[in-house]
Amino acid sequence: MNRGRLGRVGVGAGLAAFVLWTLLPILWLVISSLLRTKALTSRPPDLSAASWTLGNYREVLASGQALGPALLTSAIVSLGTTLIALALGSAAGYALARLSIPGGDRIALLVLATQMFPGIVIVIPLFIVMSRLGLIDTRAGLIVVYLSFVLPVVIWILKGFFEAIPPELEKAAAVDGASAWNTFRLVVLPISWPPLFAAGVFAFIEAWNEFLFAVVLTRLHTKTVPIAISEFAGQYQTKIGEMMAAAVLASLPVVALAIIFRKAILRGFAEGAVKG
């Protein structure tokens, strides 16, 4: 019993350390966004009452640093990526899970294999392809590129879920006279919301946070939020406080998403099976 208790304490301490490890940078981000530049850059940072300010946020929202347009672009690109990834991913995942496609397993592996190339390897060839297609500096171009690495993961998340649905459910629908499409639409989809949320939030976050492709494939018109934030670091000076404030603002939608759909996300990832 003593060992059990010791074990629990150990696990608790380990988890606490992990949470701290994860949250500390975010805490520091929030703190830096609320400090005057002088207080932030002095060593050690001056945390006295006089150092705190909301000025950074005012600057970011008022100034011409283009965070507003960037937020809009990011929202459109991320939502577009998410919706298309879910539409294509659910169909592909269902097909790979349920239909007996010749070589289906290999196709599924191939889909996953695309994840093995680091982005930096393909970014230059991709730039050439996209410029030939006239998709440089367009939202559509970004969506296409983001889909290329978001869709495979979405397919795999949803494939795993669809495989866990008892096949009897679809047999029952067939006996009741449902076509394949009606079975998918009226039986499979309505019980698939948790994994769809999980996959959707994943897709959204990936697209929202992406930096490398965005910095190479966009110019003026389609700056996304991470690009806009990076531009606070100028040639002659870096507005650290404003950069941090912008970063906090940019994180809010994702945090909100995670909080709102927390339950659905957890269920989507944890509970593969459907309980009848």
Binding site: A172, V175, G276
Partner: protein
């Protein structure tokens, strides 16, 4: 309602023959059970009948018309599954009425029909609940309701009660039987539970390795199993088997004991290696004597199963009343000649006589 025939029906998965040339005719309104252990091909046969899978070879006929290639809905069959397979996001009423909704029937009609079926199955108070809010027995009744509302030509049951506990299983068995008596729809029931098969069926088809070992009424299968395999599968306890020799007299020698045999068995079995099969109710154990020694007794209420050993053999007897014997006791053993069956030792087939 329909007459169902299978002729040479075969299903192969790659190199594996799950169903190997099954011939079977099921009469209009009959209740037939496919019985066998897991992997014997009974569920595959049912899926082939349902149209959920296509036969590799052979014909399936409903009322003389070939239905191969038709889906379950066109065949007009309804099916009840082991896992209930209720739609988890639909209420009881929506589950039962789903098939009518797919047929685009008017809402008022659907509501009326669902109401009738719910009344029949005593589900009326639960119509607005979700499946997960129901007990296992209620869920299985919803699954029945979903089948009944179709008014199909054939009911198919795929081990519908194996997820239920023992007492509920008895009640559901009764309900299915009453339902069949009332609706008279041709029913094909798959189970590995011999008691379920015995109590429900007009006829039982015992399956083994994709083939039908014997098709007969429960009484016939119980009294005259065609093979040792069937004999071991049916009855609780199953038929006891004794290896031995048939000698003139005729007597059957199993180790140190010899049992007088009826004349009818002498001819067919003369000179063959045989196995004697006998059910517990045809074995008599009496106090006094030195034939065998009691190993164990199992009192079951109205009777007690008494297992006895002797050199070279062992049998279980069903004795009326609660235990009257104790372990280690020496007893006399007699067989009721009318209940004795002989099987060929090599082929396992029954020797007629």
């Amino acid at each position: 309602m329909a007459r169902v025939e299978l002729s040479g029906v075969t299903k192969r998965y790659g190199g594996v023959e799950a169903v190997a040339g099954v011939d079977l005719a099921i009469a209009d309104g009959e209740f037939l059970t496919l019985l066998g252990p897991s992997g014997c091909g009974k569920s595959t046969t049912l899926n082939l009948l349902a149209g959920l899978e296509d036969a590799t070879a052979g014909d399936i006929l409903f009322d003389g018309r070939r239905v191969n290639g038709l889906g379950p809905f066109q065949r007009d069959v309804a099916m009840v599954f082991q896992q209930y397979a209720l739609y988890p996001h639909m209420t009881v009423a929506e589950n039962i009425g789903f098939t009518l909704r797919l047929q685009k029937q008017p809402k008022s009609d659907i509501r009326r029909r669902v109401g009738e079926v719910a009344g029949l199955l005593e589900l009326t108070p639960y119509l607005d609940r979700l499946p997960r809010e129901l007990s296992g027995g209620q869920q299985q009744r919803v699954a029945l309701g979903r089948a009944v509302i179709r008014e199909p030509r054939v009911f198919l049951f795929d081990e519908p009660f194996s997820n239920l506990d023992a007492s509920l299983r008895l009640r559901m068995r009764e309900e299915v039987k009453v339902l069949h008596q009332r609706l008279g729809v041709t029913s094909i029931f798959v189970t590995h539970d011999q008691e379920e098969a015995m109590s429900l069926s007009d006829r039982i088809a015992v399956m083994r390795a994709g083939r039908i070992e014997q098709v007969a009424t429960p009484a016939e299968i119980y009294a005259h199993p065609a093979t040792q395999y069937v004999a071991r599968f049916i009855g609780s306890p199953p038929m006891d088997m004794l290896s031995g020799v048939l000698a003139s007299g005729p007597v059957f020698r199993a180790g140190a004991l010899a049992f007088a045999m009826p004349e009818r068995l002498a001819d067919g079995a003369a000179g063959r290696d045989v196995v004697l099969g006998v059910r517990a109710e045809h074995v008599q154990v009496m106090p006094g004597g030195s034939d065998a020694v009691v190993r164990v007794t199992q009192p079951l209420g109205p009777f007690t199963n008494v297992t006895v050993d002797w050199e070279g053999g062992s049998l279980t007897a069903r004795v009326p009343g609660m235990a009257v014997f104790s372990p280690g006791e020496r007893v006399r053993v007699r067989l009721d000649p009318s209940g004795v069956r002989l099987f060929d030792r090599d082929s396992g087939r029954s020797i007629p006589g």
